[in-house]
């Protein structure tokens, strides 16, 4: 199934079905978790029937706390599936990632966190 990508002036969410990788880029500061629903839908769509899933946020320069909450909610959904290996790829050059990505690993200790 081809998922619907999201591409706006400020951010983009692209799904590469071959590698089952979701690449999130840009600046995300939507007004509350409700507004993150289309993004959550892309993430949940990629999770369907997946055994391995990678989320690449290297070029996501800004994520507000509603976005962090959305990512956390997704990580817990993956954790509940028990049969999916999740890899999160971040950058050590983006401050919020160095500060907050570790919290996602705390929610799901089997999550692979890579700074690439």
């Amino acid at each position: 199934m081809k998922l619907v990508d999201i591409n706006t002036e400020e951010y983009s969410i692209l799904h590469d079905a071959t590698s089952n990788t979701i690449v999130i880029k840009g600046f995300l500061r939507l007004d509350g978790m409700e507004e993150y629903k289309p993004i959550m839908d892309v993430l949940l769509g990629a999770l369907e029937n997946a055994r391995n899933l990678t989320i690449n946020v290297r070029d996501l320069e800004f994520l507000n706390s509603s976005g962090i909450s959305t990512l956390s909610m997704f990580v817990v959904r993956v954790r509940e599936r028990k049969d999916v290996h999740l890899t999160l790829q971040g950058s050590e050059a983006v401050l919020w990632q160095t500060k907050s990505l570790k919290n996602l690993q705390r929610l799901m200790p089997s999550l692979t966190l890579e700074y690439i």
């Binding site: 500061r29 507000n64 509603s66 956390s72 817990v76 919020w96």
Partner: protein
């Protein structure tokens, strides 16, 4: 100045901290223009504050870290200013007809943020019960508990403040003040300190 009839403070609230030579205050009218457009302006303002305050710090590369002090200040200030503004907007009561305000004061080793908005009594009470719970808890544990609750569809609540405390090492103090002339409106004054 507002006439006050009741004031409650939490944390080390010191409304009269020493003046710094460098400070910026931005005012926003919470009723001008559509919300999505205003929301975008809050983000742009947070980025501007980050860029502005970063210029006071050295931008040379440090071997130990991929982020130099200037970029670290830029990232921290824009994240915190954005969260404080978002909270001020969420807790603001449009009926109050008063502007939301954010000020940043630069000191040698810290930046003090001050955000002011006007809430309904109900919203202020909710905010105060969060603060009381926070003061009686371990913030990291509280963060994890809230994240688990969010995952079950419990709705987000004050994750921004917990993120600033846990991940950015910010310290907070609050003042809630009701006005004699309009007792149904509470002035919410949030102070956050970031070590740099």
């Amino acid at each position: 100045m507002l006439e006050t009839s009741a004031t409650r403070t939490y944390g080390d609230f010191n409304g009269a901290f020493p003046a710094s030579n460098e400070y910026l205050t931005l005012h926003f009218s919470p009723t001008t223009g559509p919300r999505n457009q205003r929301w975008r302006n809050y983000g742009l303002s947070a980025d501007f504050l980050g860029d502005y305050f970063a210029t006071f710090f050295p931008g040379n590369e440090e071997a130990q870290s991929k982020i130099n002090l200037r970029n670290a200040v830029k990232g921290s200030v824009s994240f915190m200013a954005n969260e404080l503004l978002e909270n001020a907007v969420k807790y603001n009561d449009a009926q109050s007809n008063r502007p939301i305000q954010i000020s940043l004061h630069l000191f040698e080793a810290q930046i003090i943020f001050q955000a002011i908005n006007y809430s309904s009594v109900e919203a202020a009470t909710k905010y105060e019960s969060f603060i009381q719970e926070l003061n009686a808890s371990d913030p990291e544990e509280m963060y994890n508990q809230r994240m688990e609750k969010i995952a079950l569809g419990g709705g987000e609540s004050c994750i921004g403040i917990l993120t600033m405390i846990n991940d950015y090492g910010a310290t907070f103090a609050w003042q809630f003040q009701s006005c004699q002339s309009t007792p149904q409106i509470i002035e919410v004054n949030v102070m956050a300190s970031l070590q740099v």
